[in-house]
Structures are given as structure tokens and as C-alpha cells.
């Protein structure tokens, strides 16, 4: 059976998927075996979690603000301005919050991970780790994966909070939507399951970003040019994975947490 293995692109794609899956498997194996370096995890939480605060707050806040304005302009024509609150909060929770946070983190943290590990690869620092009997997955990937799994759901939560806060101020202060209607409808139509869905997506996107970025870094070759290419590829591939994965996650999670059903 030659097809589809005869196509170099298909083969490269399958190899890439296999490499990433093996890295993920090895990482979880190390985590479950307790080979976690807590000091490095804390350092990565500072880098990923605290370092991404500004970008996540600005993304969440302005997305909430602009989405509120656009929704209001359309809904107001139909005399439905009181529906702005729930529409914005549900959209932020189920889609915009996790996806935009993940895209921003992929750009900031994914690129940094890939560049750092890639530079270590081309300057023989990863070989030096191995020569010193230190497993590079335990030392480099596990702390980043654990830190991402802890940080991403919290960053998504932060994005939602500032998105809804900005939405409230834009709707109430700038667009004169009734505060009571806005809050009442938002509380009525936004459920706990919407927030659980946001966190679940954030968690899955964290894994996508960390394994794509670390795999790119670990497979870097060809010096500085290779590091640049790996960094770009890490951002592009993880962003595409987030957008494509989001569709399938939405369809799957909607079975578990159906939208609009109490």
C-alpha cells in the first residue's frame, strides 16, 4: 500500500505528529513517575503566568469592550439591548476567552519556549544535559508542561473576568444599557458549565502549545536560522492547532455541556 506514504508531506506530517505524541507521552510518564522539579515549575509559572498578565488583561478587556459595542449596535435596532450582557459573557466563556488567551500565550510563551530550547539544542547545551545524566524532557519539558497546565486555566479565568468587566462598563456607562437588566440577564443565561468549558479549553490549549513549542525546540537544527524557523513554526503550528482543535473541542464539549440548556 503506497498511498498515502508516498507523499513526502504526508510522511512529514505523520512523523511530526508521532514526535509530538511521543514527547507528550514521555512528559506524562515523567509527571506520573514524580520526576517534577518544583523549583523549575515555580520559575516557569512566574514566566508564563505572571509574565502574561498584561497581555491577557488587555486582550480580554478590549475584546469584551468591542464585542459589547458591536452586539449593542445590532441588538439595539431590534430593541434587545438588555441581551447584550448574556451574549457577551456566554461568547467570552465558550469561545473568545480561551481561544484568544491561548493565541496570545502561544505568541508570547510558545515562541519563547521554542527559541530557548532551540538555542540550547544548537549550542550543545541539551547534549551537555544528557552527558551530565539529566534527562532533557524531565529538565526542560516537564516544568513547562506543569506550569502551563496550572497557569492557562487561571489566565483564561482572568481574561473572562476583565472581558466581562469591560463589557459592563461599556454597556452601562457608554451605551446606556440598564444595569439591572444587563446583570440579571447575564446571571440568568451564563451557567457554571460555560466557565467549566472555558477552563477545559484553556487546559487543552495549554498542552497543545507546550508540546508543539517544546517539540519544535528539541528538533531544531542549522544554528541561528534554525532557531528562527523553529520559533516561527512553533507559533504558527500551535495557533493553527488551537483554531482547528477549538472546533472539535466545541463540538465534543457541547455534548457534555450543551449550550442554552439549564
Amino acid at each position: 500500500m503506497k498511498f498515502p506514504y508516498s507523499f513526502p508531506v504526508t510522511r512529514a506530517f505523520c512523523t511530526y505528529l508521532g514526535q509530538t505524541a511521543l514527547l507528550a507521552g514521555e512528559t506524562f510518564n515523567s509527571i506520573f513517575a514524580g520526576r517534577i522539579r518544583f523549583k523549575l515549575v515555580l520559575r516557569q509559572i512566574v514566566e508564563i503566568g505572571f509574565g502574561s498578565q498584561a497581555v491577557v488583561i488587555i486582550t480580554g478587556g478590549f475584546t469584551g469592550a468591542v464585542f459589547t459595542a458591536q452586539t449593542f449596535f445590532q441588538f439595539n435596532a431590534l430593541n434587545m439591548s438588555s441581551a447584550v450582557g448574556p451574549v457577551v459573557s456566554v461568547a467570552l466563556c465558550r469561545e473568545l476567552g480561551p481561544v484568544l488567551t491561548a493565541l496570545m500565550v502561544a505568541g508570547r510563551v510558545g515562541a519563547a519556549m521554542s527559541a530557548e530550547i532551540g538555542t540550547m539544542k544548537v549550542t550543545e547545551q541539551i547534549d551537555a544535559l544528557r552527558a551530565l545524566a539529566v534527562n532533557p524532557v524531565d529538565y526542560l519539558v516537564v516544568p513547562r508542561a506543569v506550569a502551563m497546565m496550572i497557569s492557562m486555566p487561571l489566565l483564561v479565568g482572568e481574561c473572562l473576568f476583565f472581558g466581562i468587566l469591560a463589557s459592563y462598563f461599556v454597556a452601562i456607562r457608554l451605551l446606556n444599557v440598564g444595569s439591572v437588566y444587563f446583570l440579571h440577564n447575564m446571571w440568568t443565561y451564563t451557567h457554571g458549565k460555560d466557565i467549566v468549558m472555558a477552563m477545559t479549553k484553556g487546559y487543552v490549549f495549554a498542552l497543545l502549545i507546550v508540546f508543539v513549542a517544546c517539540n519544535q525546540g528539541l528538533s531544531t537544527t542549522n544554528g541561528a536560522v534554525g532557531v528562527g524557523r523553529s520559533t516561527t513554526d512553533a507559533v504558527v503550528i500551535s495557533s493553527l492547532c488551537i483554531l482547528i482543535g477549538n472546533f472539535f473541542l466545541t463540538m465534543a464539549l457541547n455534548i457534555v455541556f450543551p449550550a442554552g440548556v439549564h
Partner: protein
């Protein structure tokens, strides 16, 4: 396996992108002695060295370290073997996010040493041995090429390995710093009885540190003998290498 040898390599073969790099290397490295592996640039010397610590898995052949066959071991199984061996990489390969102190202390921390006073003392001793005292707080980027190599050597020796692998220890260094490195290699061998394998094409370095010399040519060991046997050899390939003749027409 003979007790005399720390490392025994048999019929080691390696191919990269269809090109044969090693075509059946056979070499014994005696315990407590310094073996210099000579060869032209791009001849597979560093590739051979990397096989000895399991950084590259052989295509076929056998590598025995201290009686243990390592060619089939996976990364985790190789860790105890790697703890017995130190390696000096060509460009040092210091961790650039750490200070010199953190780099040199790294192997001890990985072994579980947590006492800061013990780490400080041992790092100071290792740095003194390589004449780098007082440089603990510098970042690798602020060191010269020779200092980086010496710091990397301090990192390689701090956990007192039974064997040290040197990948081009004097490449790119001025003659004075090269001489310092050569003296260090010699001192480690005489004082600590460390088995050393030095990959180089530097004949001055070879004359300074070698007990045994092997020449890797076209993927095989072309010559294996003592330093005096090397110099008394009439083999034209060896003579060309020793005298630095290329036979290329200007």
C-alpha cells in the same frame, strides 16, 4: 573484556544521510591513561566520542564501558554510565542562563547535594584547579573562549568521573591558553588517575598529553600505538599528519 581497559569498542559503524562516517572502528582505551584520537576535520572523531557517552546510538557494533555494553541502552539506562564520565564539549556548552558557579555546581546539585557551603567549597576547588578562581558570578556570555572551556572543564571534573572525554579542547584557543588546557589534562591524569580520551588534530597538544595515540582515517583506526611509536613511524599517512603536509598543488 580485559580489566586493563576501561572502554572497548568493537566494529562500531555509523551512517548519516547515507554517508558512512564510521566503518568498523575497533579501539581499546586503557584505564588511567590518556588516549589521543587524531584525524582530519570532519573525519568522524567527534561522532566517535559522542558514541562513548551514548549521545549517538551506533548503527551496529559494540561499546563496553567498565564491562557494561551500552550500545542498546535507552536514555534512562544510560544515566548511571554517564555519571562515571565527564565530557568537555568543543564550545564548552555551558548553560547560558546560569552563572559560572551554577554551571559548575550543576552536577553536584543533580547528585542531590543541597548544602550551599559544601557546593561553594567544591566549586571553588574545581575553579582553582582550572585557574578560574573569583569568576563564580560571571555569566558564560561574559567569558572569553578559553575561560568558557576551563569553566566547562571544571563542570566536567567536579563530580570526579572515572573518565573524561575532550572534544577538541584546544581548538580556537591561543597557544598560551592551549598550553594551560594541555597542562590541566595532564594534571588530571597524573593526580586523579582519570582515563582521558582527547579528540584533536593539534599535534602540540598530542605531544603534551598523550600516552596512546590513534589515528582515525576514512572511518577506521589507521594507527594505534604509543606516542614514541607514532613519531618513529614511516607510514606516509602518519608522516603527513605529523608534519602537516597536504600534497595539494598551489
Amino acid at each position: 573484556m580485559s580489566e586493563k581497559n576501561l572502554i572497548e569498542v568493537r566494529d562500531l559503524r555509523q551512517t548519516f544521510s547515507g554517508q558512512e562516517i564510521l566503518r568498523g572502528v575497533n579501539l581499546d582505551i586503557p584505564r588511567g591513561e590518556t588516549m589521543v584520537l587524531l584525524g582530519q576535520s570532519g573525519g568522524g572523531k567527534s561522532v566517535f566520542l559522542r558514541h562513548l557517552i551514548g549521545l549517538i546510538r551506533p548503527l551496529s557494533g559494540s561499546i563496553r564501558i567498565d564491562g557494561e555494553e551500552i550500545s542498546h541502552l535507552n536514555e534512562r539506562e544510560l544515566e548511571p554510565i554517564r555519571r562515571k564520565i565527564g565530557m568537555l564539549f568543543q564550545d564548552g556548552a555551558l548553560f547560558d542562563s546560569m552563572t559560572v558557579f551554577e554551571n559548575v555546581a550543576f552536577p553536584l546539585r543533580e547528585k542531590g547535594e543541597r548544602k550551599e557551603s559544601v557546593l561553594r567549597k567544591k566549586v571553588a576547588q574545581a575553579l582553582e584547579l582550572v585557574s578560574l578562581q573569583g569568576q563564580e558570578e560571571k555569566m558564560p556570555v561574559n567569558l572569553s573562549g578559553g575561560m568558557r572551556k576551563r569553566a566547562a572543564l571544571a563542570r566536567a571534573i567536579i563530580s570526579e568521573p572515572a573518565c573524561i572525554l575532550y572534544d577538541e579542547p584546544t581548538a580556537g584557543l591561543d597557544p598560551i591558553v592551549s598550553d594551560t588546557i594541555n597542562r590541566l589534562i595532564r594534571r588530571l591524569q597524573t593526580h586523579l588517575k582519570v582515563t582521558s580520551i582527547v579528540v584533536t588534530h593539534d599535534m602540540i597538544s598530542t605531544n603534551h598529553v598523550a600516552d596512546h595515540v590513534a589515528l582515525l582515517r576514512e572511518g577506521r583506526i589507521h594507527f594505534n600505538g604509543t606516542l614514541s611509536e607514532l613519531h618513529s613511524s614511516k607510514d606516509p599517512v602518519l608522516r603527513d599528519f605529523i608534519d602537516g603536509r597536504s600534497h595539494e598543488i598551489d
